[in-house]
Symmetry: C2
Subunit: 122 residues, 2 copies
DNA sequence: CCCTACTATATGCATATTGAATATAGCTTG
DNA sequence: CAAGCTATATTCAATATGCATATAGTAGGG
């Protein structure tokens, strides 16, 4: 079942950064949960503080929303993997997040700047 | 009752951006809930998508953690206000968030950059 | 004086999200 | 065949959230 109001990205909803990073990784290349977990370090998610259970749940949620699709694949070694690919809908979603990310980056910069300014004064 | 492990800021825990913004606003100047809500627009929180109930609860949570303190104050007009001030502990917490914010800003930049690069190629 | 609207804070409730632990199972190595 | 790794998934309890509503003082119009 898909979300009916697809790309209403509220600027402050950045808890969803994990979802966006996953879409980005899958935009570059298909991947499966366990490997994606390691790739997430690029975006500051460390394996120690990452919750693997949450990662799998997030991937399934993205699939429920139709942003990614998955197939079971035999591994050359080790157990089968559920390999995810981004969908057209997922690409559109990622695209729609970019302005929000820009905005958030600016806001964080502003906050850092105003903090610096205050310490300078004191 | 205060949190026993005070400043363990996990990098991905940026849902807490609201808390950080509130600490920043209160670092600059004391303030009360209703007015802080409007000031939050500086950091991208719009009144429409802001949940006023959540804001008050967040302020109380910060107070429980000892990061802010509050007193009731008569207003020159209108009902009484619970005016919040940042505590020393709150200042330390804000300070400890700055490196995390820098990191997050960098990560967001990276994500935007890699997105741009991919679209260019296609 | 009464009605309405606004300022201001707070809570109740149902739902959503999360962390931590555990389950399941196949594969690999000795 | 036992231990350890890869890989996915689920359960449960604790938190967090959105939305609606409660409370109450103040202000202005009629």
């Amino acid at each position: 079942m898909h979300n009916e109001q697809p790309f209403a990205n509220k600027p402050q909803k950045m808890e969803r950064f994990l979802e966006i990073c996953l879409l980005m990784l899958l935009y570059k290349q298909v991947g499966y949960g366990y490997a994606l977990m390691e790739k997430l370090s690029i975006y500051g998610f460390t394996p120690e503080d990452m919750n693997i259970g949450s990662l799998y749940r997030t991937l399934r949620k993205l699939e429920d929303q139709g942003l990614v699709s998955s197939v079971w694949e035999e591994a050359t070694q080790g157990p089968k993997r559920r390999v995810y690919a981004i969908t057209e809908r997922g690409k559109e979603s990622l695209h729609s997040w970019i302005p929000t990310l820009r905005e958030r980056k600016t806001r964080i910069g502003q906050l850092i700047d105003s903090y610096e300014r205050i310490i300078m004064e004191k």
